[in-house]
């Protein structure tokens, strides 16, 4: 490549490059603004996503587990309470 050729190539690359960066980011600005507008309108009807993301499917299983746990807890509670009542009554005869 001759020296003057290199110069014109460099100049060309500078103009093309800078131009393209601006075109690309302008399109991105337009696309982003449009996307934000659509989503904001959509969320007015549907509501926003929770910040921590969509709840994982395992949540269903853990709920079921906690139900049985609750049942166990209740059973224990009833045993303890009835024992206490029994003792109370036997003391206050």
């Amino acid at each position: 490549m001759t020296a003057s050729n290199l110069m014109s190539e460099g100049l060309n690359l500078m103009l093309v490059g800078m131009g393209f960066v601006f075109i690309f980011l302008t399109l991105l600005v337009i696309a982003t603004s449009l996307m934000s507008k659509i989503i904001t309108r959509y969320e007015r009807d549907v509501g926003t996503l929770p910040e921590e993301g969509i709840p994982a499917p395992t949540a269903v299983i853990s709920q079921a587990m906690s139900k049985t746990q609750h049942a166990n807890d209740d059973k224990n509670l009833i045993t303890v309470l009835s024992a206490a009542i029994h003792k109370f009554r036997s003391r206050h005869k």
């Binding site: 460099g10 490059g17 393209f20 980011l25």
Partner: protein, 377 residues
């Protein structure tokens, strides 16, 4: 006696060339800057140490078959390490401030002028016969102005592998020098009244927007500039993993253990390019000077663009956030914030400056795609 002579012949003292000695000292200097002055230590410690290792006479760590050479071939020549790092950077990036004010993307675009102006500078220097840079070399040097380490390494590995050592060192050392290089330029281009401009509170950005944005960017890249797809594709992938919040395990690995592992090997591999033959050259000096100019021009054009935007748009824009358009996340945004606080102790610009800052990352990746497309055929 023969054995003794042989033993003497293989010692480092006997084999050391002056160039290797100088390069070991330069490696030590990088270590000093990293450890004592805290200059980008995460990269300069591995690069500096790699540089010392590469110049141990007779050990051949950086020659074919040596371990550093293997790291280089596997990670940098293939382009893998910079891309993996970019994925991690994506997973650490929050596009919230950018989405709240998409116009700041223009600041990220303007700051890329530093890349192309420096490219032109390198070409002019070759024209006058001061240096002998080809167009590909000039492009790889210009990308230092993008202030983005992985992008610089990626472009250099594609366009000018023999200059990679100098380009990587320049780009990481200048990133560490952002707090010194930028403020004088920013002060010179703005008035005190402009520095005091208060920006409006950013709107809240919903999670859905944050999830859709990386996909939108990816589609735009796919349609318009497939050459930028490796860099921006990995970047978007990392970001989507973070924002979709259903793959936290992957996202945490990407932004912590993976990026750290790769950084170690990337640093050592770059260090392997600090060999005396290729580094101790006038071209290195040229690259260091041109890199500095690239940073300066990028900063200036970002600030000037912000002043222009401030005139055109209704919502006020403080010109100080323009300088954050050179990537250097989050250093450049912190500099904008600091200068804003100097003029008005109640003016916090940090979140506003993060918008142009991440826009700069996108901008320099786009510029990198154009350079690779135009030069590397």
């Amino acid at each position: 006696m023969d054995k003794l002579i042989h033993l003497w012949e293989v010692t480092g003292i006997n084999q050391m060339t002056p160039g290797q000695g100088v390069m070991i000292l330069i490696g030590m200097l990088l270590l000093y800057l990293a450890i004592k002055k805290n200059f980008e230590p995460l990269l300069l410690v591995p690069i500096g140490f790699g540089g010392v290792l590469a110049n141990i006479p007779g050990a051949g760590l950086a020659e074919a078959g040596g371990i550093l050479h293997i790291f280089y071939t596997v990670g940098i020549e293939s382009g893998a390490f910079p891309l993996i790092i970019f994925m991690g950077v994506g997973a650490m990036t929050d596009f919230g401030p950018l989405l709240a004010n998409p116009k700041t993307l223009f600041l990220g675009a303007a700051a890329q002028f530093g890349i192309f102006a420096t490219l032109m500078g390198a070409v002019v220097l070759s024209y006058f016969g001061i240096f002998d840079f080809s167009l590909a070399d000039a492009a790889a040097i210009g990308i230092i102005g993008g202030a983005d380490g992985p992008t610089s390494i990626y472009v250099a590995s594609k366009l000018a592998p023999e200059l990679l050592g100098a380009i990587a060192v320049a780009s990481y050392s200048y990133m560490a020098l952002v707090p010194l290089i930028q403020p004088p330029i920013m002060r010179a281009l703005t008035t005190d009244a402009e520095r005091k401009i208060k920006m409006v509170q950013q709107r809240h950005v919903s999670q859905r927007e944050k999830i859709v944005f990386p996909l939108l960017l990816l589609i735009l890249v796919a349609f318009l500039l497939p050459d930028a797809a490796p860099l921006l594709g990995m970047f978007c992938f990392g970001n989507l993993m973070k924002e979709c919040a259903v793959v936290d395990r992957l996202s945490n690995t990407t932004q912590n253990s993976l990026i750290n592992t790769v950084t170690i090997f990337l640093g050592l591999a770059v260090g392997s390019k600090l060999s005396a033959e290729s580094f101790l050259d006038m071209a290195t000096l040229g690259i260091l000077v041109l890199g500095m100019i690239a940073f300066g021009i990028g900063t200036a054009s970002g600030v000037l663009m912000a002043k222009l935007l401030n005139k055109l748009v209704k919502a006020p824009i403080n010109p100080l956030i323009g300088s954050a358009g050179v990537s250097a996340v989050p250093m450049a945004a912190r500099v904008s914030n600091k200068l804003g606080l100097e003029s008005d102790p109640h003016n916090f610009l940090l979140m506003h400056a993060m918008g142009p800052n991440v826009a700069g990352v996108i901008g320099s990746a786009v510029a990198a795609g154009i350079l690779i497309n135009y030069v590397g055929v």
